[in-house]
């Protein structure tokens, strides 16, 4: 039977709508399951003014046998089998005939009692109990109260429509009582009407200019986009986040198109699209990669017959572009180097000093990185980019559009005559801003990005700021993630611990956390992000553990170890080898008591194992030296046959102490060699599980 709930509200932020709907879905299905109400289907939909839940549910709980126990058998039943007073009283008080009584055995002993069929309760009744609690438990990033009601929600609730099988389910939430009534579009068709089921609800809403299915709105928008652009041979600059947001902001989507004077095309694409997106939430129109003097917007209206909506948006956009041009021209009047000097007065973090101080550190850090990465050609430009990279924080454009930070610096630097390397490095140095975001394309941009984030992570953790749960004021998680992304994607072969030593020494006198403790904390923090990346890439956690066990020094090598290990997992040698290493590790529990003495090797199998080890070790070390982890791992697998024969024929725990210790020393050399590649004992193989 059909269940339909609509919570009508004043305009909810689109992120709140999406989160509320998914919470509702989860909570309602939990509660219904707990109440033993069968669910055939359950889904949510809605708009910024309506949270809607639609379900097909069983009419009621199933009937259930219930056991009622009374007095203990000894008390209730006499020796001759007839009922005592206690039994008669129990039957009377429960209103059941004596014939229905029986002895019921429980964990506590035997009792007199009876069984009866308990009728399941109707679903409507259950819904009316559980819904008010679910509605008030929905959580939002920010809640509010309104009027004189002691109720918190994202925005005020206006109306509740709640039907089960065509009947109103009585509810009361925030002083409102449920009914079978709802209202059309708030501005275009504010008509109240009654509905009996979802089909009617959907249709009447549509008649009253509300498209309640989000997928239908999305299709309508995409179709209208195409219609508008058909003649232009142009396309919408894709902006999924904006589209997703607007999709929930309108009940009756209408795509409008407008234009702006071509003279504004002299502004950089970055500025144009930001000016359109922020504030008015317009989409750019492009042909190839070139911006055209048009925009698309999504209005909440059935039509724009007199063109007011498009014309109004054009006027507002023109004003914003005029402002942007004013900022662009004004900003260019001041040299970036001059602005950079003023950063001495802008605080980066209270204990870490100003942005000026940060830039001094960055210049040294990029110089260090350039040496380590042998970037002789870029070194000078890198130091220059580091000196200038935060100067755009003082420009009017970035003050107006903070998300253009970095990009503006790069654009201004280029315009003011700095080299391509310098301006590009500045432009890209905030990248990547998330797991999906690209890393800087240029090497210099990547180095600067890495240095900036390292300085922030080390500095902020180093002055004792702790991050937990949702509290991460400097976005350190994202920054540490970016450190890993840049290092891995750019294949920067660096020793992370030594890099941290350098970053820490540059911050030295400002830090409050002891050096070694800080280094350990940062390494663990970065390792956590690295594991997150590997997990997202689909690597098995046990392989990640194995590959990271040799220590977090060179991230690129760690990744190569993991990759090689993962690729070999399918080979027939893999599992026997893993089991063999586990066996070795079980035997070698402590460091060897004696050095290996080849003269003491007596048996054929142990001599063969030793000579195999020498050859394999030489090969592995050569392969590691050229970072060929795949080959090294394959090579090390060759230990398995001689090891196998060794274990078959040779008793490690020999009577003779010298022989025993010598064999243990041989095994621990093998273990040491494997540990350079991975801690294979961490790998879970099938024959062990179950």
């Amino acid at each position: 039977m059909e269940f339909l709930l609509e919570i009508m509200t004043e305009e909810l932020p689109s992120s709140h709508v999406r989160s509320a709907l998914s919470q509702f879905q989860e909570k309602l299905s939990q509660e219904l399951q707990a109440a033993r109400v069968g669910i055939h289907s359950l889904r949510t939909l809605g708009t910024c003014r309506r949270l809607v839940v639609l379900a097909q549910l069983e009419a009621g709980q199933p009937d259930e046998e219930e056991v009622v126990t009374g007095p203990p058998r000894q008390v209730a039943v006499k020796a001759d089998g007839s009922y005592a007073q206690a039994a008669l009283g129990f039957a009377r008080s429960q209103g059941v005939p004596l014939e229905s009584l029986e002895v019921i055995t429980t964990a506590r002993g035997e009792y007199l009692g009876f069984r009866r069929l308990k009728k399941g309760r109707p679903t409507g009744e259950i819904l009316s109990e559980i819904l008010p609690a679910i509605i008030s438990s929905l959580s939002f990033p920010k809640n509010m109260r309104w009027a004189d009601k002691n109720f918190r929600f994202s925005r005020p609730i206006k109306n509740l429509l709640c039907l089960f099988n065509g009947q109103v389910v009585p509810l009361e939430v925030a002083g409102l009582k449920s009914s079978d009534r709802t209202t059309g579009h708030f501005i275009q068709a504010p008509v109240e009407f009654r509905v009996a089921n979802f089909e009617e609800y959907r249709q009447r809403l549509k008649d009253n200019l509300v498209v309640v299915e989000p997928e239908e709105r999305k299709r309508a928008i995409q179709q209208q986009f195409q219609e508008k652009l058909a003649g232009l041979g142009a396309e919408v600059y894709p902006d999924q986040a904006l589209l997703e947001r607007l999709l929930w902001n309108v009940e009756c989507p209408l795509v409008i198109m407008g234009s702006f004077p071509e003279s504004y095309l002299e502004l950089p694409l970055e500025v144009l699209s930001t000016a359109m997106r922020e504030g008015q939430k317009l989409f750019s129109v492009v042909r190839g990669k070139k911006q055209l003097p048009y925009f698309l917007g999504i209005a909440d209206s059935p039509a724009d017959p007199r063109g007011f909506i498009a014309a109004g948006n054009e006027r507002v956009l023109k004003a914003r572009l005029e402002d942007a041009r004013f900022f662009w021209k004004n900003d260019l009047k001041v040299n970036l180097a001059e602005r950079a000097a003023q950063l001495q007065n802008v605080v980066f973090q209270e204990k870490l000093g100003s942005y000026g101080h940060k830039l001094e550190r960055l210049q040294k850090l990029v110089a260090y990185l350039a040496d380590r990465l042998e970037l002789k050609k870029e070194k000078k430009d890198l130091v220059e980019a580091a000196r200038l990279c935060k100067a755009d924080l003082l420009t009017e454009m970035v003050r107006e559009f903070p998300e253009l930070q970095g990009k503006m610096g790069g654009l201004y630097a280029k315009k003011q005559g700095w080299s391509e390397t310098v301006s590009r490095a500045i432009y890209e140095h905030y990248l990547p801003a998330g797991l999906e975001d690209p890393v800087p394309a240029s090497t210099a941009g990547a180095v600067l990005s890495l240095a900036d984030k390292l300085d922030t992570v080390v500095g902020v953790l180093g002055v004792g700021v702790s991050i937990s749960g949702s509290s991460d004021p400097f976005g350190l998680r994202r920054q540490a993630l970016a450190i890993c992304q840049v290092t891995l994607e750019k294949k920067f072969h660096l020793s992370l611990p030594r890099l941290l030593d350098k970053a820490i020494s540059l911050l030295q006198d400002r830090l409050t956390v002891p050096r070694e403790q800080l280094k350990k904390a940062v390494l663990e923090f970065i390792e956590g992000r690295l594991r997150y990346i590997f997990e997202k890439q689909g690597y098995r956690y046990d392989l990640v553990n194995a590959a990271l066990a040799p220590g977090l020094d060179n991230l690129v090598q760690a990744e190569a170890r993991l990759k090689a290990l993962s690729e070999l997992r399918g080979s027939p040698n893999f599992e026997p080898f893993i089991l063999m290493v586990k066996r070795v590790k079980n035997i070698v529990k402590e460091p060897p008591r004696a050095r290996l003495n080849s003269a003491l090797l007596k048996e054929k199998e142990e001599k063969e194992l030793y000579s195999a080890l020498k050859i394999i070790r030489k090969n592995v070390e050569e392969m590691l030296a050229r970072n060929d982890f795949a080959a090294a791992q394959k090579m090390i697998f060759r230990l398995q046959p001689p090891l196998n024969s060794f274990f078959d024929r040779v008793l490690v725990m020999a009577e003779d102490k010298k022989v025993r210790n010598n064999r243990l020393a041989l095994l621990s050399q093998i273990l040491a060699l494997t540990a350079e590649l991975a801690d294979y004992s961490q790998v879970v193989v099938e024959s062990e599980s179950g």
């Binding site: 309104w146 009027a147 004189d148 309108v250 409008i256 209206s301 004003a319």
Partner: protein, 282 residues
């Protein structure tokens, strides 16, 4: 419709909703929200309905009369109703209709925009109202002021009058607006904008402003100690405006900014607390 007709229509509309019409407050403020007719009325339990026009000064928005949209002083029409009526969004739409706007021909949107003023320890939840892409109103359910949780909740509706008038007159330049049939916005405001921009950005004596700030701050504390809350609040408003002037002269560092705002907030919070105690509990 001229700018002054717009004032009159809105006065008439909101008086019809039972609001008392407050005269414009006679101190420099950054927003209509700052005046006593909002600040004190949203505190405590007593219901209020008030509407007024308030010039709002934002020294950093000055553009020497050269920018067609930005001015360092603009006019707000402010409405406060406590408790917020259930159909307040509808009433607000009616106010736009009363200005002759046929909403069915336009795109009116309530776009998420929460409001916060750290200076007076206040925040609220609501929207910017967009009309064909133009922000014409800030619509807020006040949740906190003077650091105090507010209950019952007031609704605040702040119309940006120049924006609305530009919409009504279909003008692209603020100075082309008609104040009355005879007088333009340019006639009244252009020279003033030019001179104040020079003052705000170049001429204001920062040492004098710093001295005045500490003097008003001390005076406010002294008055609070004596329970003279309205005069004390005036001194806070002076501090706030002096702060804005210092800011537009670029004379405040980031740390100092936090410190000065914190000083004003501490005073305002004391005033709010005492006021509510005096009125008999929140």
């Amino acid at each position: 419709m001229s700018m002054q007709q717009l004032f009159l229509k809105l006065y008439e509309f909101w008086a019809g909703q039972g609001c008392y019409l407050a005269p414009t407050y006679d101190l420099e403020v950054g927003a209509g929200t700052m005046t006593p007719d909002t600040f004190f009325r949203v505190l405590g339990r007593r219901p209020w309905k008030v509407a007024y026009v308030q010039p709002s000064r934002r020294p950093t928005d000055g553009r020497y009369g050269e920018n067609p949209h930005r001015v360092q002083k603009h006019f707000q029409f402010q409405v406060i109703i406590k408790p917020s009526p259930a159909d307040i969004q509808r009433i607000y739409l009616d106010s736009l209709t009363s200005l002759g706007i046929n909403l069915k021909e336009h795109d009116l949107r309530f776009d998420e925009d929460d409001w916060e003023s750290p200076t007076i320890g206040a925040w609220g939840v609501g929207w910017q109202v967009m009309l064909d892409g133009l922000e014409i109103t800030q619509f807020t359910y006040f949740q906190q002021a003077g650091g105090l949780e507010l209950f019952p909740v007031s609704v605040e509706i702040t119309y940006g009058l120049e924006r609305l008038e530009m919409f009504l007159e279909q003008k692209d330049n603020i100075y082309d607006l008609q104040w009355s049939d005879e007088v333009s916005y340019h006639d009244l405001r252009y020279q003033e904008e030019k001179e104040f921009s020079i003052y705000n950005f170049e001429q204001a004596d920062t040492q004098m402003l710093h001295r005045a700030f500490s003097a008003s701050e001390k005076e406010a504390q002294r008055l609070i100690n004596q329970g003279l809350l309205f005069p004390a609040y005036d001194q806070c408003l002076k501090c706030s405006h002096l702060f804005n002037l210092l800011d537009s002269r670029g004379a405040i560092s980031v740390t100092e900014r936090v410190k000065l705002i914190g000083q004003i907030r501490t005073l305002v919070n004391q005033i709010a607390r005492q006021f509510v105690e005096r009125e008999g509990g929140s």
